[in-house]
């Protein structure tokens, strides 16, 4: 359910995009904002395989509700396809945000972080313990914390650096 007018959301996002673009530029990351769709597209190239991965953020109702992050195909479509998601390496110092969980018995990938609407059980995510996605700004001990768009991009990229290949 859309709560906030798109014009208001667009203004908030575009203010945060100033720093996001600076971050993307200094880290050689592809970033594209589609204002009419309230959609942000980030392309990351995996070190181990040189393959590109495509991250799509949707920002309807931002910041009242956490945005909606998925890995998608190179055509910027889909979102639930396992092989569109990077696979974490074994033995990482911290649990990866690139998680696969079961939804009605089906292995379903998710970017599991408080800043992703899809991590909450209300949106078929694994976290009933985080409350509603409207509470996404609350601090959660031990979990990644990102409360602005550039900080989300930084977390997504940091965890991406320790992936190799794709989920299958």
């Amino acid at each position: 359910m859309t709560v906030l007018p798109a014009t208001d959301v667009r203004a908030v996002v575009e203010e945060e995009l100033v720093a996001a673009r600076a971050w993307a530029s200094r880290n050689a990351v592809g970033l594209e904002w589609i204002p009419d769709a309230l959609e942000l597209r980030m392309t990351l190239s995996q070190l181990a395989t040189a393959e590109d991965f495509f991250f799509r953020g949707r920002f309807d109702d931002y910041q009242a509700i956490a945005p909606h992050w998925q890995c998608v195909s190179g055509a910027w479509a889909g979102g639930d396809v396992l092989s569109d998601y990077p696979k974490p390496q074994e033995g990482l110092p911290r649990p990866s945000i690139y998680l696969v969980h079961a939804v009605a018995g089906v292995r379903t990938p998710v970017i599991c972080a408080p800043f992703n609407r899809l991590a909450y059980s209300e949106h078929k995510g694994p976290h009933g313990d985080w409350g509603a996605p409207a509470n996404w700004l609350a601090a959660r001990q031990g979990h990644v914390r990102a409360t602005t768009i550039p900080d989300m991009l930084s977390v997504i990229q940091l965890h991406f650096l320790t992936t190799r290949g794709r989920h299958a």
Binding site: W23, R26, N27, R94, Y98, G142, P150, S154, L158, L161
Partner: protein, 97 residues
């Protein structure tokens, strides 16, 4: 005599400050920090996070340019090979799941 000179140099070196440029995702411009060489990475990260306006989370420091290495929070800056003139990126090192 030579040993004394080396020890004196080391003491002077320990007292000198590291000048490190720190970037953060949410800020367009970096901030220059002057830190004691023996300052723990975790303490430096916390100070930088506060300066950039971060509240909560698990601040850490990563070397630049990309792909960087996340510094060991339990080591001192000098023990984790940070040198004056280095550029670091402030990152949140919390886990997922």
């Amino acid at each position: 005599m030579a040993t004394e000179a080396i020890e004196a140099a080391n003491v002077a070196d320990d007292k000198s400050l590291l000048k490190v440029l720190v970037f953060a995702a949410r800020a367009v411009d970096p901030i220059l920090f002057e830190w004691a060489r023996t300052l723990k990475v975790s303490e430096a990260a916390l100070e930088a996070a506060k300066k950039f306006g971060y509240v909560g989370g698990t601040p850490g420091l990563m070397t630049r340019p990309q792909p960087g290495r996340v510094l060991d929070p339990n080591k001192s800056l000098v023990a984790d090979h940070v040198k004056s003139g280095d550029e670091l990126e402030l990152v949140d090192t919390g886990g997922g799941v």
